[in-house]
Amino acid sequence: AQSVTQLDSQVPVFEEAPVELRCNYSSSVSVYLFWYVQYPNQGLQLLLKYLSGSTLVESINGFEAEFNKSQTSFHLRKPSVHISDTAEYFCAVSDNGGATNKLIFGTGTLLAVQP
């Protein structure tokens, strides 16, 4: 069965510092990987996704994630965070050989950016 592990429940960081949010998954088949962001009192929004091809994927607001098959990881990074990046970040996996478009989510990491 697939599962997603986000070891850090909360990551405090100062503005303009770099950050890495960790995500590891377990699956016996090929997967698609996603990062969703949830701002306070809002729904989840897709931040970036890995389907195939280049293992490094980028978002429009400066985040990037790298798919590492040997380490079964999909860590999210940003070289310099802003106050507005404060939100909860969820890593998710989809079995690309499965019958449905079902997403399995991790427990989330709260990114708290301090001035």
Binding site: V4, Q42, G43, L44, L46, A92, A99, T100, L103, F105
Partner: protein, 115 residues
């Protein structure tokens, strides 16, 4: 384009009462999902519809939860009777097609508190 709409945004009920949530997906989206997000956990898929047919309801507690998507557009999720452990945020999402690469768009959620 308008996003996924959900109502109500908040609901407080006593245990053993009934409650219903409503979702209106993005126009033209064939696939609709209901997720349950318990505090401190990631969203968990309850049921997935393709048009007005059920694709996956393996995680739906069918003794108390029911969902329908009449005419393949709006959907309602009902809990009858509610238990304390049903306290959670109920998220509705939709996607254009039922394909692993198809992005899921989430509504703001309904926060249910069972006392």
């Amino acid at each position: 384009e308008a996003g996924v709409a959900q109502s109500p945004r908040y609901k407080i009920i006593e245990k053993r009462q009934s409650v219903a949530f409503w979702c209106n997906p993005i126009s033209g989206h064939a696939t609709l999902y209901w997720y349950q997000q318990i505090l401190g956990q990631g969203p968990k898929l309850l049921i997935q519809f393709q048009n007005n047919g059920v694709v996956d309801d393996s995680q739906l507690p069918k003794d108390r939860f029911s969902a329908e998507r009449l005419k393949g557009v709006d959907s309602t999720l009902k809990i009858q009777p509610a238990k304390l452990e049903d306290s959670a945020v109920y998220l509705c999402a939709s996607s254009l097609v039922d394909r692993r690469s198809s992005e899921q768009y989430f509504g703001p959620g309904t926060r249910l508190t069972v006392t």
